[in-house]
Structures are given as C-alpha cells and as structure tokens.
Symmetry: C2
Subunit: 481 residues, 2 copies
C-alpha cells in the first residue's frame, strides 16, 4: 500500500495554503514529542523509525492519487501539478529505535521546507505512536516476567493486520522473545512460536488421542494445551501419559510441557507442577496464556505460580489499559534565511505550552553507575561540556536545582541524523540488534523507574538559555493578548 | 500485502497435523461469536466482512511463503507441496456488515474441510474483531451526538496504518459522516474533511493574518481553529473580523465557523456562540475536537454546550475504554460423511461453554413495532414458523419463559451465504449503503438498549432442541471425567 495519502485532509489544505502564500523553499522545524508515559509508567521505548524511513523513501503522489485529489474540487491545478513530482528533500533527526525516552523531549526533529514537513506529520505520528506504545507495553510485561520468556500472541485481537504485524515487531523490540504471527516472523525475521488450540483436541474423539497425535508429530516442541475439558482431572494426566509414552520410545524432547489457558493460573500451575514433578518430569515447562498483562504476571509471581513461559495476547497487542501513545508534532521554528526564528504554542494549560526553537537533547549519565541522572533539552547552538559544572533545574519548580561537578557525569547527544537533504543516511539495525540495544537502554534506568506502580520519574530539564527563551516568548504573547 | 501468512503459527502446525491424521476432505463447522459487548453496551455492530472476502479470494501461499515455512524446519515436504496450491473451497455464512449483533450468536459460520477452516481463523478474527469494535464505538458516539454530525479524526493515534484506514471505514459504518483520513477516503469513497492545524496559525506572524489567508483560500468551507493563543480574547474576535471581511466582499460561505480544540468546551462554546450571534453570525458553526468520546459528548450536551459538529479522534479510533473486541472462533461440528456430529468445549466457567452443532440464528421482531424481541439460536435443520406459538426462554434461568402468540412476531434468518464451494456469492454494498443499513438496524433496538450506561440487554435464546443437545453433551462429558 502506498502510504502517501495516509494523512489528514487538513495537511493537504494547509499545504496548498503554504504553496500559495510562502516561498516553497521556506524551511521550518517540527518536533515530535509526547506529554505523558502510557500505563502510568515513568519511561517509554521509541519504535517505528524503520517504517518511517520506508514511508519517506516511498513518498510519492501517483497519478491516481492526484486524480483523487482533483475530484475533491478544492485543489487548484498548479498545486496538483506541483504535487505530482513532490519529494521529501529535508533533514530528519531521531533517537534510534529501542531508546528509552521521556515526556516533552523532541525525540524526532524534522527540518524541511514547510510543505514537506507538514505533509508527513500524520503518517509519522501514526507509525511512531503505535510502535512506541507497544514496545513500551512489552518492556513492562517483560519486566514483570523477570527472566522468563514472553511470547507475543495477540494477532487475533490486534486492531487490524498492520497492528498485528508492526505490533509484533514493536513487542520484540520491547523484550518479547517470539511471536505467534507468521507474517511478522517472515517480514522481520522474528522467531515464531505456537503449538495447538482447543480445536485440535476437540477434532479428535478424545483428549488423549489428540495429545498422542500431536506428540508423535512434534516430539521436539511438545507443549500440550491441557484445559479443553478439565485441566487437573484429564488434561495434565493425559499429558503425563503421553510424556511417558515418548520416554518409553526413547524420545527425549528438546522442549515439552503444558499450556494453561483458563482458570486460576496460580492454583493450577502449582498443582500441575506437583503432578509433573512426582512422576519425574521436573523439566516439563508450564506455560500460560489467559488474559495476561504485566500486573497479572507480577501478581501470579508473588503468589508463587509455577509458570515460566508467558504467552501474552490482547492486553499487549492493544496496550489495553492505555491504547494510545500521545505523540504530537509541533512547529518550533521558522527560518528567515539566516537563522531559525523560534515559535511557540501558548496554552492556558502549562503542560501544553511547547518548547520553542531548533533544539537537541543531551542525556546525562552518572559517571560511576551509568544510570541516567537527567535529560537536558538545549538549543541546537549550545555546547554543553562534561568538564564544566552542569546546572540542572526543574523547569516547573525552578527552586529545585542541582549542580553536577565536572567529570562526574557523561553526556550523550540523543538525536542522530536519519535523512539529510532527502536522502537516508541511517542504516537500520536488525530487529534482534534493536531488542538488545533496548535491553541495554533499560539498564540505564533505576529499578524504581521501571516498576509498574508509582515509578520514580526521570528529570527532563531545559538549559537556562532555552528556559529564558521560552519564558520571554510566553510573556510577549501574554502582553500582546 | 498478501495476508495468507497473517496467521498464528499454531494454525500451521495443526494444519500439518490434520494433513497427516485426517482425510483432507473432512468437513467441519466453525462459529465466529463473541461473549460480551464492548464498553458496557448491550449490542455490537458487525463489520469487516468485505475485507474477509478479499482475504479469502486472495488466499494463496506464494513460493516465497513456502520457502519461509520450509526454513522453520518443522514442516514436511509433502505438506509444503500440498500448501502450494491450497485454496479455500468451503462455505461461509455471515450476517451482513452493519447488522446489530449480540453475544454468543454465531454471526459467521464456516463449513469447510478442516485444514481450510482452521487456517483462516486468525485473519478472520483479526479483521472482524477490529472493525466490529470501531463500528460499535462509532455507533455509541453518534448516539450521543444525536442529530449532529460526527467526523472521524483519529488517524494519528490509530494502531498503525491499517487501524487508521479500516478503522475509518468501520467508523463510517457505525455512523460517522466523514473522516480526516485521505487514504480511507480514496479507498472506500468516504467523504474526507479537515481545515487547518495550529501550525498554520503559528507559521504566520499573527493569528489574524493566518485566518485571513485561510478564508481567502477556502471561503466555501471556512472553519477556523481559534485556540492557538487565547480562544475568547483573540481566536473568536479574529475569526469574527475575517467573517466580516468576507461579508464585506459579498462572499457568503457555504459553511463557516470555528473549531475549539482545548479548554472547557461547554463554557467556551456558549461564550463563542454569544459572541458570534451578537454580530449576526447565527449560522456560523461551532465544532469541537478535544479528547471527545460518547460520554463527554453526552455530558457537554447536558450542560447546554453550543457545539453541533464533533471531531472524534483517539477515543474512537482505538475504542480507548475497551480496545479489543473479544470475537472467538470455535469448532462446533465435524461431519461423519452423512451428518454433522456436534462438538462442545466444556469449561468450569459456564459462560465459556460453547453452543454445539451446525446452527442458524432467527431474529424475532415484534410485529407491531418492528423492535427486536429476542434472537433465537436454532439447529440448522429446525424450521421455526411465524404461524405457530414460539417459546422463548433464558438458557441460564430456564424458569424465565415467554410464549409469543402466532402472527404477533416476524422472523428473519440472519446468516446469509457469502462463499459457496470457495466462490464468493455475495455482492458487498458500498460503504454509504452499509451505513444506512446500520442506521436502520439501530432503529430495531429500544432506546433503553442503546444508552451508554446500564443498558437493557436483548434476550439471546436457544431453541429447546439446541438447549437439550447442549445439556446432554455437558452431562456426558462430566460423567466421562
């Protein structure tokens, strides 16, 4: 599907307006940022960049697209002509996929002629909001599962095919080991997993026959679903019979065990563990997959549930308790030919006032521990040094301030160039490299920041220069009103 | 994108199992049904059938797909060979898109050789769950908006491109008048709408200039976004200035007005209405678009807000308070060559016990009012008549029973043939026809069933034959355990 028309109609009406009113070369700066973390967390995981790159590379109004727009009877022929060989020629900066991010930071920055920067807004928001949401959720689920593997099983409840496919990709970035989604597996080279459903059991005259047939076919990965009729009375005993039969035949499966898909998972897993252990199947795996999420997994672990493999579906693939990531895309500067004139959106709600100007982000790590101390949003021309004292202060409560001594902290600039003059200059890592980068990123957070309830927030500060610029612009607008 | 691999891996492992263990012609029946309505409602809207038809028609494992499966090292060559010219050859029955549906009814029924019926499970669930969810949500939002128009504005927060595009389609089925999503507009011939964003205003030196430029470009559809700086102090006054200027030029816009996108919408809309009315712009529209949903629209209306055009985004396109539709796909019968042998899934949770057998649904309308009295699930071979007394009873509380007198009710069979022997026999109506059918469907519900809080549920009953079959099968399984 060509995604060029994957845009809000107003992007096109505005674009025609810019075409009529502006120099088509007028360069502007837009920031992508978000205002609060999903699910009450204290961080998010950035994802979706690879698909943004594909979208920008493929950006192109086809003759059919132009004809469709013509039929809307609102666009003039010169503008439609202009669209027909319209390409993205600007610069895009972004944090890499898998990066831990925080609210109000410009984690993507687009510097481009105004029409180009405007028309790509909606698709960028759509792609990055979706994948960042699911990657963040997956990192929470994985955190709850500790060292256990988490499998993504949500395709049937995902919000359409793409939500399943790109959702699986994002879930793997966030920490899932594999997916049930074969198309995602093929497309992104993600491991795919799955055994059988209730329908397999029901299609035979009895459960034991169904298990036996399955074990004969797949002796190397023999996870039997034991809850079609009665988990403890028939399911587990029949599974044990079949594991014994494999043993008698001298077959030692690489991976075998049971899957629980309903009922009280804490109780059932403990009973099943006991039944399996008593007959010598201590290495049989107990997996579970019934409306799980990070909260339930944490709860089951605290009850001593004997589950070590978690199949997570609906609640992960839709991020059920918070199904939207609130990324926004805001104009922050307009070039006057020589320099960027900062722009601001003022709101009665202080949280909705934007940070003006062409900016960058420094991540400040504690030198001794490698843990993030704060992120610092600076103007592009600023140059912060590790060898000088660094003032950090809360922009909403400026009396909260800290000075970091020189050489006690490490700085990293987070934004890297993705497109320069319309050409992609970035090589996307493969999905497992992104997953492993994300796991490293998560280690730069205190455990207190990763917990699912009442986590400790990370400080996102402005440099004094940026803070002063913002205050003076708010004052100016208020006095004009 | 070829969606043939849009499936859970276990469908393929089971399929290979069926290939090895069964006659490949073994015919089975699967039902699609769901267990509870989203968002605490008392009905749902069925949607997604057109995309299911496309999926089945295009179903085909490419050589690349087969190669990918081969690399998983779990499938044997004879099975992969078999897949390479595998097609769907069975029958599919479904309720039409836009139909009002209720829990536990088989609103789709697949009768096909077991491998074919199994492999299409995941994609059908994915497509129908998503679109039914959004169509249902949209019908709730439209219900709250009463006679006002609702526009779908959610693309930027949708869960990926498809969620935006098919979500817009479903939103229109449920009652939205238009979408902001240009690709959805082009693909499904849905009206597209939109004006300008804050960035348009911010890109000019002042708000008045931005409004003036916009009005000059689009005098016929001039809705100005008034909250970039200060809604009542600058936004509305500047809009009024521009409307006056249009008037002075003798331009009478077809559609003009303002859009509120932040702040207290009840207060601001009343104040803005007064300001517009005082200078003779009684016909200026006040639209709003700030985190709206059915509950907020109802609340704003009860406060007397002066908004008559509602742009609904995130909460509609993700169905935020309930982002998954719990449709399931269950085996209900297996052919023995002569007849269908019913199958049941027993569960400790009574709500999770399936209805066995090859079935159909009768909708029972009150003859005088045209309102639904109940739905009746029957075995395929049963023949219920309007001219005979009809016993209705609650399958969970069998003492709750009613007998309808002959000729006081009208019966309609809900399932219609979609595929016969693998060929599509159904012509999908266009989207606006589906919307209009859905509006008629909603008129067959009591208002008490449509309200968003504590709605009255509709009775979903089983015929005595089906009830007795189900009870005897449960008893048999319990005695075997």
């Amino acid at each position: 599907m060509n995604l060029t028309l994957l845009t809000d109609f107003y992007e096109l009406t505005m674009m025609q307006g810019y075409y009529k009113e502006y120099d088509t070369k007028q360069v502007v700066v837009f920031d992508f940022f978000y205002r609060s973390n999903p699910c009450g967390g204290a961080y998010s995981i950035f994802a979706g960049l690879e698909q943004v790159i594909d979208y920008i590379n493929d950006f192109n109004f086809t003759a059919e697209d132009i004809q469709y727009l013509r039929e809307q009877k609102i666009f003039e022929e010169d503008f439609l002509e202009f669209l027909s060989d319209f390409k993205f020629t600007g610069d895009i900066y972004s944090v890499p996929e898998g990066t831990v991010i925080f609210p109000n930071e410009p984690v993507m920055k687009i510097i481009a002629p105004i029409m180009e920067a405007q028309i790509i807004e909606t698709a960028i928001l759509n792609i990055v909001n979706h994948q960042s949401l699911i990657a963040t959720k997956a990192s929470r689920v994985k955190w709850a599962a500790e060292d256990d593997m988490v499998l993504e099983f949500g395709l049937r409840r995902a919000q359409g095919p793409d939500a399943g496919v790109y959702g699986a990709r994002a879930a793997v970035i966030g920490g899932c080991s594999a997916t049930s989604n074969v198309l995602a597996g093929k497309k992104f080279d993600i491991p795919v997993k799955g055994t059988h459903a209730h329908s397999w059991v029901m299609s035979f005259n009895d459960e034991l026959t169904a298990f036996r047939k399955y074990a004969n076919l797949y002796p190397d990965a023999c996870i039997l679903l034991v809850d079609t009729y009665d988990t403890l009375k028939t399911g587990v005993p029949n599974a044990i019979k079949v594991f014994n039969e494999l043993k008698e035949k001298g077959i030692q499966p690489k991976l075998y065990g049971i899957r629980l898909d309903s009922g009280d998972l804490a109780y059932l897993s403990k009973k099943a563990r006991k039944m399996l252990d008593e007959v010598g199947f201590e290495d049989a795996i107990i997996s579970a997959s019934s409306d799980l999420d990070e909260y339930l997994i944490q709860d089951l672990k605290s009850q001593g549930a004997k589950i070590t493999l978690w199949g997570v579906g609906t609640n992960l693939i839709t991020s059920k308790d918070c199904p939207a990531f609130g990324g926004v895309y805001k104009l922050t500067a307009v070039s006057n030919g020589n320099e960027f004139v900062p722009k601001i959106k003022v709101s009665e709600n202080p949280a909705k006032i934007t940070n003006p100007g062409n900016k960058k982000i420094y991540r400040v790590y504690d030198k001794a521990t490698g843990i993030i101390k704060a992120d610092l949003i600076a103007l592009e021309e600023e140059n912060i040094k590790e060898t000088e004292p660094l003032l950090l202060f809360d922009p909403n409560a400026t009396w909260k301030r800290t000075i970091l001594e020189p050489n006690t902290f490490v700085l990293k600039e987070l934004l890297v160039p993705i497109f320069k003059n319309g050409s992609c200059v970035y090589a996307t890592p493969n999905i497992m490299e992104i997953q492993s980068y994300c796991q490293k990123e998560l280690k730069t957070l205190w455990p207190e920041t990763k917990r699912t309830k009442n986590p400790q927030e990370v400080f996102i500060d402005l440099t004094m220069n940026l803070y002063n610029l913002k205050q003076s612009m708010i004052e100016r607008y208020k006095s004009e009103v």
